[in-house]
Amino acid sequence: MLKPRLIGLVLVRDGLCVQSIGFKRFLPIGRPEIAVEFLNRWGIDEIAVLDLSATARGSACDAETVKRYSRLCQVPLSIGGGIRSVIDVKRIIQAGADKVVINSALAAEPEIVTRAAEHFGSQCVIASIDARRGPAGFSTWTRGGRQASGMAPAEWARRAVELGAGEILISSIDQDGSRAGYDLDLVRSVTQAVSAPVIACGGAGHPRDLAAAIAAGSAAVAVGNMLHYTEHSVIVLKRALEALAQPIRLDSYVTYRHSEVGPEGRLAKLSEEALDALRFRYIPEETI
């Protein structure tokens, strides 16, 4: 069966990988290449590198940087931020990315989506939609949440798919960095509007948040902040999803299937008997 995808978000600001809170506060993590390398090694299903400062700077990711990420990444790689022309798309794809993420250009130059899809197929274009919850429903924002588009996210998503986008990345600005879970109403409003795969984004703090977003119809869940600072974060998260009976691809060397998952979504300490019975075993790295 087809497994829902866990997408690792690497958010970049002025060349530095960051955690983002409400699209306003940013905590530095370190070099983006290191984040890409670790996510790949820990068995992430897909990686998206989004440059948050690119639109303001006026330039998309350069070919050399994409090449560096691509060499470290044996899963599908998406690149986003500041893409304003088909030339940008071409350069990024030729440098080794599989998909591009288009957000602000959806408002400014929507024909990019159509032309990129004609050239490389619609599977290569992800339309990214940032939304806020308001008294009158959800509203869509571009330029990092600074400019209102005047349309509802569902309507915006339908338009993006008509233009040729193959996937929709729906992010909640309110939930971003809150660890309070995805905005499920927002996710549902989009999954009900389009048949294209939808990626839920913004607010994941517990494995059950991911399972809830998948139950709400999203084909993939994007996780950023939650994957930093913890060793084997991807594997532990996937193990916790398995413990919640959520099917997910977990085929890394280490699986933690012998461990219980505690109520907070982290691995529980092994029992004294299990610790006593532990034997260290040397597992040499496989040479492929």
Partner: protein
């Protein structure tokens, strides 16, 4: 030295296939002309995009004739990836009827999964292995591979070496003698993908050793 040519015909992400082979210590040649393909021991045809555009590119550059000469006449090992496998069929119904390279008896039609599952079929799916194939050594049954496609290859069971389940059972890999093909993307399938590419390289080296 094993020389593997990756055919660059303007369709999609050639770089990731080259990266994966680099990781295995095999430096491939990215070949966009017939002259660059001829010296190779084996040929990989990757591809993402539309069948019609891909065949057009192959014909315009004359690469279709070179490939047929090298693979079918001279018997060089060949691996088609995703669209690169579909192109081997007689024809495709994508954007009107287009004839393919016609090396294998099959046709490419739109995926029509039951239960109105979404098309494209994009993501990690388990692959069920059929008869033993050189490509799938050291790969566990039901291993996950990354798929991303809206069309699929309809072909006889005799050449199908693996299938996948997505609202129906569809072809995931084929073998007809030295002509191999996979519907998924080994270059994007982490360890299982690297193993598969290593198996292909080993297969090429074995065949080369035998013919010397």
């Amino acid at each position: 030295m094993t020389r593997i040519a990756i055919v660059d015909y303007g369709m999609g992400n050639i770089g990731s296939v080259a990266n994966a082979l680099d990781r295995l210590g095999v430096t491939p040649v990215v070949a966009s002309t017939g002259a660059a393909i001829v010296p190779a021991d084996a040929i990989i045809l990757p591809g993402v995009g539309a069948f019609h555009a891909a065949m057009g590119n192959l014909r315009r550059s004359g690469l279709d004739r070179t490939l047929t000469e090298e693979v079918v006449s001279k018997g060089k090992p060949f691996l088609g990836i995703c669209l690169g496998m579909q192109l081997l069929a007689r024809e495709s119904t994508e954007q009107g009827l287009t004839s393919g390279l016609g090396w294998i008896d099959g046709r490419v039609v739109r995926l029509d999964p039951a239960a109105s599952l979404p098309v494209p079929h994009a993501g990690w799916n388990e692959v069920q292995l059929g008869p033993p194939s050189p490509l799938f050594g050291r790969i566990e049954p039901s291993a996950h591979f990354y798929f991303d496609h809206s069309y699929h290859l309809e072909c006889g069971r005799s050449i199908t070496t693996a299938t996948m389940n997505y609202g129906g059972v569809w072809c995931a890999a084929i073998q007809q003698g030295h002509i191999l093909g996979v519907q998924f993307h080994p270059e994007k399938s982490q360890r299982n993908g690297l193993r598969l590419l290593r198996n292909f390289v080993t297969y090429v080296q074995k065949r080369k050793g035998e013919s010397c």
